[in-house]
Symmetry: C2
Subunit: 203 residues, 2 copies
């Protein structure tokens, strides 16, 4: 988590940086990125306005750092857990479970990641969003391995599959984060993606 600013590495600074990030999640989730002010985040974090600028260059930098930091945590968790699973199908099921679990446990974070990440695709065009790219590649690698092993259907680009799966999960997560749906069953979603929509008599 190198971040965009170096101040985060000063001893003892980690806690304060983390407090600011946590506060930013709450404020961004509540008001949206564009409507949020750095001073509100400072108040929420219990620090002086100027303190935020010791850790982050700007509100944009704060959002980008938040993405990098949290996406890296998610990627880290995936890198740790997925290799333990015995098959591509088991890996996919675990991936879906972990994703939907995040929504239940960290709803404000998911709201920021799903809503603002998309907005950010535009206003941060020059920022390549490397951690999200890594996240997609982790998912595409599962698909590619599964295709190579004959476990998953071949002939579809793994990147397309990864984007489709992410999109499905992301939309379901957004609906859940915004309180528009009940908790989502990971098993139902995994069955749907693995077995498809067709009824049995058509398979």
């Amino acid at each position: 988590m190198s971040g965009h600013s170096s101040a985060g590495s000063t001893s003892g600074g980690g806690d304060k940086r983390e407090r600011i990030l946590e506060a930013a999640i709450r404020v961004f989730a509540g008001k949206g990125f564009f409507n949020s002010k750095v001073s509100e985040i400072a108040r929420e974090a219990g620090v002086a306005d100027g303190t935020i600028y010791l850790y982050f260059k700007s509100k944009d930098d704060l959002l980008i750092s938040l993405f990098e930091d949290r996406m890296e945590r998610i990627n880290q968790a995936l890198r740790e857990r997925l290799p333990r699973e015995p098959s591509a199908e088991a890996k996919l099921r675990r991936f879906i479970e972990m994703h939907l679990d995040l929504v239940e446990k960290h709803r404000a974070l998911v709201e920021v990641l799903t809503v603002e990440l998309r907005q950010s695709a535009k206003f941060m065009r020059e920022y390549k969003n490397p951690k999200f790219g890594e996240f997609l590649r982790l998912l595409a690698a599962i698909i590619e391995d599964g295709q190579r092993a004959g476990e998953l259907r071949a002939g579809v680009p793994p990147t397309l599959v990864a984007r489709a799966i992410f999109g499905a999960l992301d939309e379901l997560s957004l609906a859940r984060a915004l309180g528009k749906s009940d908790p989502i069953s990971a098993t139902q979603v995994a069955d749907l993606l693995l077995s498809g929509l067709r009824g049995r008599r058509h398979t």
Copy 2:
């Protein structure tokens, strides 16, 4: 297309209203909703700033009217075309084709709808987004009919399926609209959704 403002119904006003909406699509797609100014949209449309306020109460109202108008067109096209298809599977294939076709032909619109619609989920919470709800219900109805006919797998809530399909298409459309992917094959996406990820030997 009743819209939020009544001025759109004055005779001859339709053209100007439409010109403003077209200009808004280009400006919102180029700079994002939050960074766009009503005066820029007026310039792009070749009308005076004040003219916009004859048709729309505010920038928010313009975005909402844009959604309602274009989503209604999309829903209208779906209501016309889908009933001609003989089965739930054929309807779904047509739905996917029409969605991906829109991305190729109206990229800026898709960029606004995919990016700003999501952002709008937050800042327009009190606006229920009825046309998007209708769009999702159209899709859920195909699933429900297919399940009832035994053509599609039962036991999964049609709304969940509709959201998952929309999410997959939406993410693929966004990647395409932002120039991050090649044209997307509707057949590949439909096959994937209908037959699932599992390889043949597992079905």
